[in-house]
C-alpha cells in the first residue's frame, strides 16, 4: 500500500535527474578547470637544438620565461629522478605526522645565560 501511495514517477525523475545533474555539473567543472589549467600553466620554453645550432654566434634572446640551470643543479635533479624512478631511494618512514618536535632545555640555547646578558651584567 505504501509503495502504491508514493508518486513513483516523480521519485524516479528526482533520482535520475538529480544524480545526472550532479554528474553533468561536476563534469562541466572539470572542463572549466582543464581550460583554466591550460591557460594558467607555467610556460617553460625548451629550445630546439637545431634552432640553437643555427643561431650560434647570434646574441642570445633573454626572456623572463627561460630557465638557466647550472651543471650541478642539473646533475642533482637527474640523480633524484634516477633514484625515484628506479626505486632506490632510501626507505621513508611512511608515517605522516604533524607532531611538534619537543625542544628540550640546554644551556647552549639558553637566553638567560647568553653572551649578551653576561655582557650587560
Amino acid at each position: 500500500m505504501i509503495l502504491l501511495a508514493a508518486n513513483w514517477g516523480h521519485i524516479w525523475m528526482v533520482t535520475l535527474l538529480g544524480f545526472g545533474l550532479v554528474f553533468v555539473l561536476l563534469v562541466l567543472l572539470i572542463y572549466v578547470l582543464k581550460l583554466f589549467g591550460f591557460i594558467m600553466r607555467p610556460r617553460v620554453k625548451v629550445e630546439n637544438p637545431q634552432e640553437v645550432h643555427k643561431s650560434v654566434g647570434a646574441p642570445r634572446k633573454e626572456t623572463s620565461e627561460s630557465i638557466t640551470l647550472t651543471g650541478n643543479a642539473t646533475a642533482a635533479i637527474a640523480m633524484a629522478l634516477h633514484l625515484y624512478y628506479n626505486g632506490i631511494h632510501d626507505e621513508e618512514p611512511t608515517h605522516v605526522t604533524i607532531k611538534k618536535v619537543e625542544r628540550k632545555y640546554s644551556p647552549w640555547n639558553s637566553k638567560l645565560y647568553g653572551m649578551n646578558n653576561l655582557h650587560r651584567n
Binding site: V14, G18, V22, L26, L29, F36, M40, T94
Partner: protein
C-alpha cells in the same frame, strides 16, 4: 561499599519524597475532634470555645501546612518526581532513556574521540533537552511555528518570547544560518590544490553521491514522504552541515535523528569504509602508484573559488548559500590579504557556531521525537547511504582505469564521500597496507573536496525538486 550505601540512602530518600509528593496530605483538625470525642456534642458556649480552639489550631496547622506545602511543591518541581508522576506532558520514561543515550554519546565523544567537536555538544544538548522540567527546549513551540493555522506560524517573536535558551539557539538552525557559517570555516581550512591539479577527481566526487539518491529511493519505498526521503538520503553525502541545512528545510521533524546519524557515521568512516574498499578492489589495484600532482599557482587558487561559486550559483541557485560560503572561506584563505578574517573563520567563528549548532541540534532529540521506528530506520538507511556512496566512488575509479592510460588507484574513489579529511586518510591507510611506500593522501584529497562540492550540489538539487 560505603559510597554505595550513601547513594542507596539518598535514592530511597528522594523516591520516598516523590511518593509523598504525589499523595496530597489532607489537613485534619485533630484537637477539635478529640474535644468532641471527650465531651460529646457541644452547646452554644461550647461551640464558641471550640471555635476559638479551632482558630488557634488552624493558624498553627496552616503555618505548619504552608511549610509542608512548600516542601512538597519543591519536590514536585524535581525532575525525578516529574518522571514518575505519569503525566506525559511533564516527563516520562522516554526521557530517562534519552538521558542514557546522551551519556553513551558523551562516552563515545570523550573516551573514543568519535568526532568529539560535534558529538559532545550534540550529546549535551540531548541531555539538557531531556531533563524533565528544565524547559530549555519546547518542541511544541516549533510545532506551532510550522502550523499554518497557529497564531505563532513562522513567528520568531513567539519563540523569543516563550522559548528557552535552546529554542533561541535553534533559530540559527531553522534559518539555515549555522551550516553556512560552518561552511565559511570549512572553506578557510580546505586546500583545493589537489582538485585543481587533478580535475578528474570531480567525477569521483560526483559518483560518490549515488548513495544519496539510492537512499532517497529506499526511504520512499519504506513509506517516508518525498521531502523526508530527500533529507534521509543526504546522510550519504557524509557532510554534517549540508545534512543539517537540507533537513531543516525539508523535514525539520527529523533533524535530531538525521544529524546524529550523519555525525556518527562520519566518525565511523574508518570502520565502515575499509571492508567495502577491500571487497571491491584487487591487491594489484590497491598497490597502484599514482603520478605526482602538478604544482598549483597562487593565482589559480585565488580564481578557483570565485569561478566555482559563480558557475554553480548561476546553474543551481539553491546551492548558492552552501557553495557561496564554502568558496568565500576558501578565497579569504588563498588571497592572503585578509589573514585576520581567515584565521577568525577557521577558529573563533567555527568554534562558536559548532557549539551553538551542536547544542541546538542535540536539543531536537527529545524522547517523543527520537524513540520511534523512524529513528531506527533512519540509522539503518544512513549506513546504507554511506556504504553505497563509498562503493560508487571505488567502482567509478575502476571504470576510469579501463578507459584511461594513467592508472588511478581505486581506493581514492571512496574519499568522494565528503567526510574531510577522514575519508582521504582512510584511503591512505588502506593503500599503505598493500604498499608502504605509496602515498595516496594528496591524491585522495582531490575527490574528498570534490565530494564537499558534490554533496552541496546534490543538496541544492533536492531542495529545488522537493522544497
Amino acid at each position: 561499599m560505603k559510597q554505595l550505601k550513601y547513594i542507596l540512602l539518598s535514592l530511597t530518600l528522594v523516591l520516598s519524597m516523590a511518593v509523598i509528593a504525589q499523595e496530597q496530605p489532607v489537613a485534619e483538625n485533630a484537637a477539635v475532634d478529640e474535644l468532641i470525642a471527650e465531651e460529646g456534642q457541644p452547646n452554644e458556649a461550647g461551640l464558641e470555645e471550640i471555635g476559638a480552639i479551632a482558630e488557634n489550631e488552624l493558624a498553627e496547622s496552616s503555618a505548619e501546612e504552608s511549610v509542608w506545602t512548600e516542601v512538597v511543591d519543591f519536590f514536585k518541581t524535581m525532575g525525578f518526581v516529574r518522571v514518575f508522576d505519569g503525566k506525559s506532558d511533564s516527563g516520562d520514561w522516554r526521557q530517562l532513556v534519552m538521558l542514557l543515550i546522551s551519556f553513551f554519546l558523551l562516552y563515545l565523544a570523550i573516551k573514543k574521540q568519535y568526532e568529539p567537536l560535534l558529538l559532545l555538544p550534540i550529546a549535551f544538548g540531548m541531555l539538557l533537552t531531556n531533563l524533565p522540567g528544565a524547559g530549555m527546549f519546547h518542541s511544541e513551540l516549533w510545532s506551532a511555528f510550522l502550523d499554518p493555522e497557529s497564531p505563532a506560524y513562522h513567528s520568531y517573536g513567539a519563540i523569543m518570547k516563550e522559548g528557552g535558551l535552546l529554542d533561541v539557539l535553534y533559530i540559527g538552525v531553522k534559518a539555515g544560518v549555522y551550516p553556512c557559517l560552518i561552511f565559511i570555516g570549512v572553506g578557510a581550512m580546505t586546500d583545493f590544490g589537489p582538485l585543481i591539479a587533478n580535475p578528474k577527481s570531480l567525477v569521483l566526487g560526483a559518483a560518490a553521491q549515488i548513495g544519496i539518491f539510492l537512499t532517497f529511493l529506499c526511504a520512499n519505498a519504506l513509506g517516508f514522504t518525498e521531502a523526508q526521503a530527500g533529507a534521509i538520503g543526504i546522510i550519504g553525502g557524509a557532510d554534517g552541515p549540508t545534512s543539517i541545512f537540507l533537513t531543516s528545510r525539508l523535514a525539520p521533524e527529523l533533524l535530531g535523528p538525521i544529524a546524529i546519524a550523519a555525525y556518527s557515521y562520519m566518525a565511523l568512516v574508518p570502520v565502515i569504509q575499509p571492508p567495502i574498499m577491500r571487497a571491491l578492489t584487487t591487491k594489484e589495484e590497491r598497490a597502484i602508484k599514482m603520478k605526482q600532482l602538478r604544482s598549483v599557482g597562487k593565482t589559480e587558487k585565488i580564481i578557483f573559488p570565485i569561478m566555482v561559486a559563480t558557475i554553480v550559483a548561476l546553474i543551481l541557485p539553491d546551492a548558492a548559500p552552501l557553495i557561496g560560503c564554502l568558496m568565500l572561506g576558501n578565497l579569504m584563505k588563498e588571497c592572503g590579504v585578509v589573514d585576520r578574517l581567515s584565521k577568525t573563520a577557521q577558529n573563533e567563528l567555527m568554534n562558536i557556531v559548532v557549539i551553538f549548532l551542536g547544542l541546538s541540534v542535540g536539543a531536537t532529540a527529545t524522547g517523543a521525537s527520537f524513540l520511534n521506528w523512524q529513528t531506527i530506520m533512519i540509522l539503518v538507511m544512513g549506513i546504507v547511504a554511506f556504504a553505497c556512496g563509498s562503493a560508487g566512488g571505488v567502482l567509478l575509479a575502476k571504470l576510469m582505469n579501463v578507459f584511461s592510460k594513467e592508472k588511478i588507484n581505486p581506493l581514492i574513489g571512496s574519499a568522494g564521500v565528503s567526510a574531510v579529511p577522514m575519508a582521504a586518510r582512510v584511503s591512505q591507510q588502506v593503500g599503505q597496507e598493500e604498499n608502504p611506500s605509496n602515498f595516496l593522501l594528496m591524491h585522495a584529497m582531490g575527490p574528498n573536496v570534490a565530494g564537499v562540492i558534490g554533496s552541496a550540489v546534490a543538496a541544492g538539487l533536492l531542495l529545488t525538486f522537493l522544497g
